[in-house]
Symmetry: C2
Subunit: 360 residues, 2 copies
């Protein structure tokens, strides 16, 4: 079986590495010249909406998936005429538009921070009366890693914030005083089989994920699973889905979902019996899903902008390094370190060391 | 860093898959046209003793290793003039000749079955008086997976056995009534750091490994580790080494060692914190070695000659499939299944299912 992936970055690379043992081969489509998945997959180089390349991809593979959610809808349409494309396009459409996404959450009884759609500065000013201060204004489309959003703390910030987003359609959300950010990595296969990983607790820096800690037996697990299940059933979802949540009191509030393998699930490579990458492939191929149990105490630290000396990382015998084969640039995710431990205390001690190495 | 590997089979493939996350890239040298490592590594196609290809390989990589022990000594010599080659050639020389190997065991105080070198039928007849019946006669070189050997149960078998081995220099060994076959997978790095995996209990069929079960806390662990340590220190060894042993009473008798990653260590991919493949790469690169602890109860079943339907394998959520991308032929190793379990009983139940799938 040959699997096509739109995008040739680290997620495609890690999907391919997880897929060879299942007997799969990979073709990625990416406009980039030196994409990091190309070491372990064939690459078609060109634009995501290049019709002849998309036809070539469809002819070469049995199934297509993608590693980022801003895939042009037209590309998915063209491909889907010829080969199965998972996750399904309705999931992509929802994830590409924060307003549709939030409306879907609301419809499914998945709690969210209060939100209002805004299409002008005047609407934004009016919306603030409903959502209250402080708030966050976010473009409806194209946002990722904290880009395309602005925090609003006082009235004078409204005009510059609106301008910074170039006046495109947006939503404004109440800024919820939350205790922690968590995500649930869930998988659903073409057969409808569904399974979740233990809840992950996430820490961001400047809008970019820095640190994930797996929390098996977390008291919020069942609420998160119920949300993910509702969402995946509604979308007739296939593949891995990551749902990002804020915890406020005993309630989880949905922030957004990603219709793909997700950075907050990278710990599963070493810390779970089956990685999110393998389970994504199993799901899109309709194969039985693998066990998602966590192994001991486990966490992930992102390497952003710089790669520490490999020997310094591995001197902790429970550190597992995952480099993406990318040149370091400021702010660029170039790898991550997964940690294993026998106890919470041991994990905390390891985390301290590794966060220092990672430049915290 | 670029790593060269002599041989492009499944061991090279699994080394490469384990090495990308460390930021490595791979070039394999193999005469074959459709070798299974070529999906995940560049290939130089040609003979192992092709001097210009060896020079090309040396120019392309920072270090060379190999996936089989019958590497021509001349190839290693040529390479070693230009790049580090690990495991070191003295280990290769020993592993390529059963007589040297057994003499080395004897010298290091590593118990072995009684053995005598034989160079003619007359010598074989004479040797039988020393080692006693039954016995096994094995060619000194080129044997693997039970090839190049014959069991001797009665005097009439001596002449045909000697003929079946084409009369090449051989050793005859006492056939020890052993309780079980085990192996110890050990790793030693360029820095001298050394670590072993939990003892593995192995079952062969027709001379080919069928099943390995990891035995953490085995009472024979320390004896096996002491043997491996003596051997690796003597050879100034670098990389993974597999030492195959028979247990007779409270004594382990060394059968042979392989200077490479080994089939009986494949369970470490899912069943140990760091796989033998990753630790081999760490060792040859002089990086700190990763933890070798077993995760729960774990075993490996080889797929030989046929690949069962993937969905039938994965329906057990604790089965982890490793296919090599090879066409099945009778007797050919085409993949393996690693099993995880929370208890001995669970592992036994899984093993029963998987052995049936694998054609037992």
């Amino acid at each position: 079986m040959r699997v096509g992936i739109l995008g040739g970055g680290q997620l495609a690379r890690m999907l391919a590495l997880a897929g060879y043992p299942l007997g799969l081969n990979f073709v990625v489509l990416d406009p980039g010249a030196d994409v990091c998945a190309a070491s372990v997959a064939d690459q078609l180089q060109g634009a995501y909406d290049d019709e002849s390349l998309l036809a070539e991809l469809a002819a070469k593979v049995d199934i297509v998936s993608y590693e980022f959610e801003n895939v042009p809808a037209r590309a998915v349409e063209l491909l889907a005429d010829k080969v199965p494309v998972y996750p399904p396009r309705q999931a992509l459409a929802m994830a590409q538009d924060r307003l549709n996404e939030k409306n879907l959450f609301r419809k499914l009884g998945i709690a969210t921070p209060d939100f209002v759609a805004v299409n002008s500065l005047a609407e934004l000013e009016q919306a603030m009366e409903q959502v209250g201060w402080p708030a966050v204004v976010k473009t409806r489309t194209q946002g990722y890693d904290g880009k395309g959003q602005a925090v609003l703390s006082q009235p004078e910030e409204l005009a510059p914030a609106w301008q910074s987003l170039s006046g495109v359609p947006a939503i404004v959300e109440a800024f919820v005083p939350f205790e922690r950010e968590v995500s649930i990595i869930a998988v659903r296969s073409t057969t409808g089989e569904m399974i979740c990983y233990p809840l992950t607790e996430n820490t961001h820096r400047d809008g970019v994920l820095r640190l994930s800690i797996a929390r098996p037996d977390d008291p919020m697990q069942s609420q998160a699973e119920a949300y993910a299940e509702r969402l995946m059933n509604e979308l007739d979802y296939v593949g891995v889905l990551a749902l990002e949540l804020f915890q406020a009191g005993e309630t989880l509030l949905a922030n957004e979902f990603a219709p793909r393998v997700h950075n907050s699930g990278h710990w599963t490579q070493d810390g779970a019996e089956t990685s999110q990458f393998e389970n994504h492939l199993r799901a899109v191929l309709g194969l039985p899903l693998g066990a998602t149990d966590a192994i001991g105490y486990t966490a992930m630290v992102n390497l952003i902008g710089a790669i520490p000396a490999v020997e310094d990382v591995l001197v902790n015998t429970h550190s597992h390094l995952h480099l993406y084969g990318k040149e370091p640039h400021p702010g660029r995710k170039v790898g991550h370190i997964n940690l294993q431990a026998q106890s919470k205390q041991e994990l905390e001690a390891e985390l301290k060391l590794v966060l220092t190495l990672a430049g915290e």
